[in-house]
């Protein structure tokens, strides 16, 4: 059948394509596999395109910022020297304080925290659909990245790795509708679950009416979900309302500004909960 014939019978073509889609969706929804092969392959290929594009954009931006940066470099250099001198004095003071704090920690036997092993990654792309909040980073299985590894930034939790390919990985952001993290309110230790809502705010669920939660409270990870290490900042409570049910309605503003992210850290150390789960399965 020639292309012109197909165009004249677009109704049949439409029905065939719709039927194909229905079969495709049915096959996936019925099976309970992990990541579909098609998704992994397409993501792997397209992430290379994203890497190239981002490289191009970064190159142009770097050239421009180098040019702009040179114009005020002398004044900036003097200012930085002055700040460095002040910082060196501050470091000496802080070192003395840290030594004292370390001594107190030992004394109180609180020195049981494990240092987190992390690797830095650059963001090379974003979600192809606005209905999903994901990012693509330039580190993959070659660098030891695995599904469900926590991704963090200096300001707090960013999300988790969902689909790693050889040289890149897809990260589900905390603000995605399907994202969730076990949390506690730092001030009162009230427990709950923070879930994404698709926009720039999070919702803290399953916090009982009796719990003490106030606007401005810092919400941190509880570590019970076996993905995120304990104590990482998630956000600050913005709204607390009575819901009528047994739980409060709490809106949390993330500490991370997802529009400003350039680089992130992937946590390579498994959480104690994950290690325990792995031990049980073995």
């Amino acid at each position: 059948m020639a292309l012109s014939d197909i165009r004249q019978h677009s109704g049949y073509l439409f029905l065939a394509v719709v039927l194909g889609h229905v079969l495709l969706i049915s096959a996936q929804v019925n099976s309970k596999r992990g990541v579909p092969v098609l998704e992994a392959v397409t993501f792997g290929v397209f992430s290379e395109v994203q890497r190239t594009l981002t490289g191009g954009f970064s190159g142009i931006r770097d050239v421009w910022s180098s040019y702009v940066g040179l114009r005020h470099v002398k004044a900036e250099n003097d200012e930085l020297k002055r700040r460095l001198a002040a910082a060196e004095i501050a470091v000496q003071e802080q070192r003395a304080l840290a030594d004292r704090a370390r001594g107190l920690e030992k004394l109180l036997e609180l020195h049981d925290r494990v240092e987190l092993a992390t690797t830095g990654a650059e963001i090379i792309g974003a979600a192809a659909s606005p209905d999903f909040r994901t990012l693509t980073i330039d580190k993959g299985t070659r660098e030891g990245v695995r599904p469900d590894m926590a991704v963090i930034a200096p300001a707090g939790v960013v999300g988790r790795v969902v689909v790693p390919s050889a040289r890149s990985a897809k990260v589900q952001l905390l603000i995605d509708r399907n994202a969730a993290v076990g949390v506690i309110v730092e001030r009162t230790r009230a427990q709950g679950v923070v879930v994404g809502s698709g926009d720039d705010r999070l919702q803290m669920q399953y916090v009982s009416e009796a719990s003490d939660v106030a606007v401005g409270d810092l919400v941190v990870t509880s570590g019970i979900d076996a993905i995120y290490p304990k104590g990482l900042a998630v956000g600050r409570v913005e709204v607390v309302e009575k819901n009528g049910s047994a739980f409060k309605r709490i809106v949390v503003k993330p500490t991370v500004d997802f529009t400003q992210l350039e680089e992130v850290l992937i946590v390579l150390t498994p959480t104690p909960a994950k290690e325990a789960a792995a031990g049980v399965s073995e």
């Binding site: 889609h21 974003a126 979600a127 399907n178």
Partner: protein
């Protein structure tokens, strides 16, 4: 040749979407450039090309970002086909009718997309009316502007060339 142009256009929209989306991730007016490209192709090339462009764009978009491949593809296929039918049955050459078509197509896409996810119990959307209205308006504005640019650009270039030729004489 035309098919290659359509594929190239959709891939360009997809690349632009993935590159720019992280700067506008703050969400209620996230623009779907791929959907805009599909509706544009459908309005200019008819229902068959529209539905094929929708299928291609939707499936690639699904494979890149969603857990179930086909839902976005189905939504964009239907939208591409219907936009193509509207393009052939009605005169859609002014900004206002085009705005209406882009707005309607975006809203229909959201209804199918969210409807299927809810139907299959894969995801739940809490009162998404404001989000859908915002996205549809943003998509419609981008679509209308894209049409105007594509239509006015060759004329503007031609006029500039003619003016330069007159000056030389």
């Amino acid at each position: 040749m035309r098919a290659a142009g359509v594929i190239l256009g959709v891939v360009a929209a997809l690349a632009l979407q993935t590159t720019l989306a992280r700067y506008v991730v703050r969400g209620t007016v996230a623009i779907d450039l791929v959907l805009v490209a599909v509706v544009y192709v459908a309005l200019t090339s008819g229902p068959a090309t529209g539905l094929l462009a929708g299928t291609f764009a939707g499936l690639v978009q699904d494979a890149l970002s969603t857990p179930v491949i086909g839902i976005g593809g189905l939504a964009k296929t239907i939208v591409g086909f219907l936009a193509g039918v509207i393009g052939t049955q009605f005169i859609v050459s002014q900004p206002l009718p085009r705005f209406v078509v882009f707005f309607g197509a975006s809203a229909l896409h959201a209804v199918i997309f969210m409807g299927l996810y809810t139907l299959l119990d894969l995801r739940h959307f809490d009162t998404p009316y404001r989000v859908v209205a915002g996205q549809s308006t943003a998509n419609a504005l981008v679509g209308v502007i894209a049409f105007q640019v594509v239509e006015l650009l060759p004329g503007a270039v031609e006029r500039r060339r003619a003016a330069k030729t007159r000056l030389r004489r």
